[in-house]
């Protein structure tokens, strides 16, 4: 083999390797699991542990922000004429000391109980180039229905730690995208790569005992069986705080919580 032929063979070999890589990359996309609600569901969900409805308790309360209300950051949506929504960020929303968008859930105390996954989907809407709601709770395996009510294309991209990552575009007036998350994960970030200010968090839990604080900072978790629980309060910027609580049968307990401003 002379030198010239050698070079040509090496070059052809390199190009063939590159082509194979490209082919592998393309086929990987095709082999990815179908985007159906069943894709991430566990193979066999165990039967739900029965709860006596006559004994269930309720936990409610208010989450406060202990400090001066932070000024909401302004969002500049000018890069897309299709975006005409409210231009304020929602990362820390405080109204008169009440803290909204805190995810509250029973972190511990339910043992090995299992619960039926609701058949009804939870809805995540995109309008005004923002996600509604900003904080979403969902049970593992439950369908999340994602809608686009904007006159522009959005791009939904969850970046989970424990679930499967995906990235899909959704043009205006297109059918809703339906997805589910198989594993428990708190504050799973979702973003839109077309509109970098669009961010929200999905909280995937194994139980139906969760709530998100409203604008008044209030939450309510109903239907808890009597027992000792750890209630977790999670805020995207301010972190997590836990409280222990014991509820008796038919009890209604108020568990308030407050967050301090994040250290700069």
């Amino acid at each position: 083999m002379n030198k010239k032929t050698g070079w040509i063979e090496i070059t052809v070999g390199m190009l063939a390797l590159c082509a194979l890589l490209a082919l592998a990359a393309c086929s990987k996309k095709e082999e990815a699991p179908a985007a159906s609600p069943m894709a991430d569901q566990p193979a066999m969900a165990p039967a739900a542990t029965p709860i006596d409805p006559a004994t269930v308790a309720t936990i409610n309360g208010t989450v406060k922000f202990d400090g001066p209300a932070p000024k909401a950051s302004k969002i500049d949506m000018s890069q897309d004429p299709g975006c005409k929504g409210m231009n304020e960020a929602e990362n820390v929303v405080v109204n008169g000391g009440d803290l909204a968008n805190v995810f509250v859930y029973v972190k511990d105390g339910l043992g090995n109980r299992t619960f039926d996954v609701p058949k009804d989907p939870v809805v995540l809407d995109q309008s005004g180039c923002k996600y509604h709601p900003h904080i979403l709770g969902v049970m593992a395996g439950q369908t999340v229905q994602i809608k686009n009510d904007d006159p522009t294309t959005h791009n939904i991209h969850p970046t989970p730690k424990d679930n499967r990552e995906w990235n899909e575009s959704q043009p205006p007036s297109s059918p809703a995208i339906e997805k589910s998350f198989a594993r428990e994960e708190i504050m799973l970030p979702v973003k839109c790569n077309q509109h970098p200010w669009m961010k929200m968090y999905i909280n995937v839990v194994k139980t139906p005992f969760y709530a998100v604080t409203g604008k008044d900072g209030k939450y309510e978790i109903k239907g808890l069986p009597p027992g000792d629980y750890t209630i977790a309060f999670v805020q995207e910027k301010l972190g997590e705080q836990d409280q222990k609580v014991t509820v008796a049968a038919k009890d209604t307990k108020t568990v308030d919580q407050s967050f301090k401003p994040a250290a700069e």
Partner: protein, 337 residues
């Protein structure tokens, strides 16, 4: 006989060189200057620089996955989507990249048809291989949701290709083809050529550290720490070039440019640090000062690396290393050589 780290062609030319008061001149290897071919090489280098800026804009605007598929864009091979939001940056980057690929193919074919220097034909082929690999890396980073090692490799290979394109523009230029290069042997240790290679090495490390930080694969401090090393090595190289060989224009010019770019890059790096880390860490969206400073930092970084590569090439050509163990003392004097 003079023994030094030069190719056989240059050794032949060294046998009967015309004398010069301070140094020796070499006769260039016979080849013809092709204006069109050279212009295409220059266009390719400029186009690649534009492509690097477009790529940096994608990263700084967090638009890397706004077009979720590859090699198609929203399922189409040729349709241009509505250029709004992140798509404006990502799809424009893809279109400029396609142009770079096309220019590289044309340049490679042209080179194989007109170029007599075999090594330049091989270099053109290597450029083609690099641009194909770069396209595939760009695709993989989209399909695998921007994994830091792949995205960083994509960033590093972009600047490697830019250096190749700039070098090809130099090699096809009239000056390179027709000039009789003036040669002075370098007897200092480390040699200037070694220093230029060391400069390329530390710059490349810096490029990888910076890319890993930009793509969330590493903290910022290794990049900042290595900036001190880069500044020292490049300043040493530039000062050596400017003090030892100020009379060789081909060495002096890139050395001055390299030094200027280092200073500019340090200022831009500091600004990028302020806008991205100190002030912009909790920003709800990419802000203009951060975008401008980080993109400029990437662009000047690419220019700095390419300038250093050019300096290394010119030093290799004009200031070959005289090997002490082979070169008798009497022959180390350039005039004697």
């Amino acid at each position: 006989m003079v023994k030094c780290r030069v190719g056989p062609g240059r050794l032949r030319a060294l046998r009967n060189p015309p004398r010069h008061p301070r140094g020796t001149t070499l006769k260039a290897i016979a080849t013809t200057y092709n204006r069109g071919h050279h212009r295409l090489a220059v266009i390719l280098a400029c186009w690649t620089f534009l492509l690097i800026i477009a790529g940096a804009l994608v990263t700084s605007n967090d638009a890397g996955l706004s077009v979720p598929d590859w090699p198609t864009s929203f399922g189409s091979w040729y349709k241009i989507p509505k250029l709004v939001g992140g798509v404006k940056f990502e799809h424009t980057h893809r279109m400029i990249a396609q142009g770079a690929g096309l220019l590289t193919i044309i340049f490679t074919v042209w080179t194989w048809r007109v170029e007599k220097r075999r090594w330049l034909r091989v270099l053109a082929l290597a450029a083609l291989g690099t641009v194909i690999a770069q396209g595939i890396l760009g695709g993989l980073t989209v399909l695998f949701f921007l994994p830091p090692p792949v995205s960083s490799a994509h960033a590093a290979l972009a600047q490697t290709f830019f250096c190749i394109a700039v070098a090809m523009a130099l090699f096809t230029g009239r000056k390179w083809v027709e000039e009789q290069p003036r040669v002075e042997f370098d007897q200092r240790r480390p040699s200037l050529f070694t220093l230029t290679l060391l400069s390329i090495f530390v710059l490349y490390v810096q490029l990888i550290l910076g890319a890993l930080f930009r793509h969330h694969g590493l903290s910022w401090w290794p990049h900042v720490l290595n900036a001190v090393v880069v500044s020292f090595v490049l300043a040493w190289t530039a000062v050596r070039a400017l003090t030892a060989y100020p009379q060789i224009e081909a060495v002096r010019r890139p050395a001055i440019l390299m030094l200027s770019l280092v200073i500019a890059q340090l200022c831009l790096g500091f600004t990028a640090f302020l806008t991205r880390i100190a002030w912009g860490q909790n920003a709800v969206q990419p802000e203009l000062p951060m975008v401008v400073s980080t993109v400029a930092h990437v662009a000047v970084g690419a220019l700095l690396l390419a300038t250093t590569v050019i300096l290394a090439i010119q030093v290799w050509r004009h200031v070959p290393v005289a090997l002490e163990e082979r070169l008798p003392q009497a022959q180390r004097d350039p005039a004697a050589a």
